[in-house]
Symmetry: C2
Subunit: 354 residues, 2 copies
Amino acid sequence: MRRAVILAGGSGTRLWPASRQARPKQLLALGGGETLLAATARRLRAAAPDVMIVTAAEHAGACAAEVPAATVVAEPLPRNTAAALGLAAVHAAHRDADAVLGAFPADHHVADEVGFGVAIERAWGAAERGDVIATIGVVPTRAETGFGYLELGGDRAELGDGVRTVARFVEKPEPATAAGFAAGGRHLWNAGMFFVRARRLLAEIERWMPATGDGLREIADALRGGGDEAAARATAAVYPRLPSVSIDHGVMEHAADVVAVPGAFGWSDVGSWQAVAALVPAGERGHAAVGDAVVVDAAGNLTYTDDGVIALVGVSNLAVVRAGDAVLVVPLDRAQDVKAVVAALAAGGRQRYL
Amino acid sequence: MRRAVILAGGSGTRLWPASRQARPKQLLALGGGETLLAATARRLRAAAPDVMIVTAAEHAGACAAEVPAATVVAEPLPRNTAAALGLAAVHAAHRDADAVLGAFPADHHVADEVGFGVAIERAWGAAERGDVIATIGVVPTRAETGFGYLELGGDRAELGDGVRTVARFVEKPEPATAAGFAAGGRHLWNAGMFFVRARRLLAEIERWMPATGDGLREIADALRGGGDEAAARATAAVYPRLPSVSIDHGVMEHAADVVAVPGAFGWSDVGSWQAVAALVPAGERGHAAVGDAVVVDAAGNLTYTDDGVIALVGVSNLAVVRAGDAVLVVPLDRAQDVKAVVAALAAGGRQRYL
């Protein structure tokens, strides 16, 4: 049976001050409505009956509140996506030896939900029909240097419409390379979505990441012998010694039979305030506002506030964010530099703002 | 005896969102320390034993808390400075028929307090020695078009060092005229400080503003007959029918024997966020901060917050203000346009932010 896994371990700093250690990005309603996590779960409802959320122990309660129907698996500390997805696979395989996982980041946005539904149905179907690891690659819409890419190989049409072999995984490219990728039609953005039998994933981890494989087997044994509580104790014991490696680097780049379904569904990783500005419907004079705003002789700005009002006079192309006890002002095209603020706060011992 | 009168009836909108109807500018600690009102009272302590504050009824409690030693006289509604100073004169003359008032706006800043002390001592002395109305004119430091000017006439050295006749009051000038004033040495900024016997002031009001004079006489009669409570009742009855006129227009421009003492003591009317920026000591890279701030690759900005932190990345010459439930972002050189925000909020029915 299909089982959706939402990887909600992120603690992104690029959306500070809205995103904080106590309330990471996936728990934010960046468009003003549902949280990114709730939207992610909602988008999976039609394709998979069961949803599992893997998240940090301190966010388990908030995740359960956002998605009451989900099973929440808590990680005692962050060990990147290979460990998180492996842990999910252990729990899924325990309940259903034939479970076919579909793994999704908790904090992305999809504009075209029909397109998303078609793509995940194809990818999940491919993982069910063949003993393959399927992924969805997003058709590039710009020469992006901030993402990894999938390079497409030959057709695997026997697994479904549009399914292609992944020839290789490509690291974040230089600008010239990215421009070639965007124009060439053979490269897709790696959006971190994977579809694979739980059993197959655990076998791949054992092969390519033996230390992680050993740890996961300990957890699986505890789960079989003593149920969820024994598994939680084993997880607490095992996790500190697991390497912190992404599933991409740890497994996908080495595995055989990785296939991809191209998708073009208005995907965004919501990786900066500039990305948020692109999602929020722009109102009067190109102004995108989450929360109350007053704009006088100002254009092309984003305002985001969780309380009260933000007033702008005579400024353009800025992100102005108020969240809790902090205010941020940054040009939209420098939104990546917000991490320097977080670093400065951490260096200055101002932990209360992080 | 000298009696200082602090005119605290202002409700300026140019320092929104820090300045609100419920907490006008004089009740703000714009430099992060004492409020403008408390600083005004402190600066008068050495020159005059008694301080009276005239303010709106709804701010009487806050003013008394700021300056516990002061007598607070409440106005039932705002009627500009002629009525406020006349009301103060009625109360002062009732206690001391020979009282010599020194009237001061509550919301100005003085950088050179020694210079201020010298100037008020000269002006108060002139009003005591002669039957004149004395004022302090601030020596212009720029071609300011936002203030009225005093044009100096001949010497009145018999009244004290530097005392000059005021030939006339000049309205806010055009830029070319202002440039001539700044260069010429014969014009001073009208800073709204006046020194005059209470008795003489009331006589001038009766002469030039007979309706106001009649109203003030009613209040004086009530005070004589029934004390402060009767005076308050009379004030409530009289005030609505008083014209709303400044003491400058109503009296000073018409009166004979107006003299001025030039002063150069780092005076500011703190009339905008740009003026605040000039008062706050600039720290690292020209950044002026009231409250906590983090600045990354940004220069020449003012941040002001009453809570939490303001973070700036890659912006320059902005005022970024957080006060209560509102955030404002405006280039410092457009700080005068903040009144457009206040107008937009009022027009939009968003009274809670005003």
